[in-house]
């Protein structure tokens, strides 16, 4: 497949929108074509937050309302069903460890058609001393694993788009991405565990 589609889902406040921008921006910086569609119900905490990113080498053919995803980044068990519905057979569900069991349970099929991978974003964030870094760490890990974008690209886009009043978080966010990326090699084993 020439175009890769990633969906990111979580609840308000987990940084879904930031993640999607960092991913799309990094791919763009590497010369890829990207498309990003965001959906979020206002600023409310706890609400659904969802984004899709399409990455390709040529002018994209994908529709702006995606029909199928190759990879789902799952930051929270809530709203997982929606991502599951989009994930293609054989696609990768990249799940925060904290919600991994719940997600697997919700999936409910004895033989789920996706590949699952757990990733401990919270642990990376703790290590990076980044309050909100769990998602970024997952992104770092995923990209290092799946080759969607280079770690340095992620870091530089994150740095660029952080607004002035959030500058203090840049360093810890960077740490989160890099720690996540560093743990990517461990991914393969986790993945097969699913």
């Amino acid at each position: 497949m020439e175009e890769t589609t990633i969906v990111i889902a979580g609840i308000g406040g987990q940084g879904v929108q930031l993640l999607s921008k960092v991913l799309a921006g990094a791919a763009l910086a590497e010369g890829r074509h990207v498309m990003l569609a965001a959906e979020y119900g206002g600023e409310m905490r706890g609400g659904r937050s969802f984004a899709s990113v399409v990455i390709g080498a040529e002018r994209l053919r994908s529709l702006p309302v995606i029909e199928r995803a190759d990879i789902a980044i799952v930051l929270h068990e809530k709203f997982w069903e929606e991502s599951a519905h989009l994930l293609r057979p054989g696609g990768l569900a990249f799940v925060e460890t904290a919600f991994f069991d719940a997600v697997v349970e919700k999936t409910g099929q004895s033989d789920p058609p996706y590949r699952f991978a757990a990733f401990d974003g919270y642990d990376c964030a703790r290590e990076a001393k980044s309050a909100m870094g769990a998602g970024l760490a997952m992104l770092g890990g995923l990209c290092a694993h799946a080759g969607l974008a280079r770690t340095d690209s992620l870091v530089s886009v994150m740095t660029e788009i952080t607004p002035p009043y959030r500058r203090q978080h840049v360093a810890t966010n960077e740490a989160a991405i890099r720690i996540g990326a560093a743990r990517a090699p461990r991914l393969a084993s986790l993945e097969s565990a699913a």
Partner: protein
């Protein structure tokens, strides 16, 4: 557990709270403070210490209709 001279109390419907903290400075005797507990929506919710006067200030300023306020009145002998 209730002090005999207590003048009032409140009930907190924490599920509705959105953690805005407007109630905290509104309380004249200063008996409200934010707790460490999060509700279902993910917000930290307030808790009440002893000394509530039942003045209704918290109820008045809370945008999310969280507080119910009671005053303690002497039970008068009836009939």
């Amino acid at each position: 557990m209730i002090a005999p001279d207590a003048r009032g109390t409140i009930s907190i419907d924490a599920a509705r709270c959105k953690g805005c903290e407007l109630c905290i400075p509104a309380c004249p005797p200063g008996v409200l403070r934010m707790s460490n507990q999060r509700n279902e929506k993910g917000f930290l919710v307030p808790e009440v210490l002893e000394g509530c006067t039942g003045c209704t200030a918290c109820q008045l300023v809370c945008p999310d209709y969280v507080f119910e306020v009671f005053q303690f009145r002497k039970i008068k002998a009836e009939g």
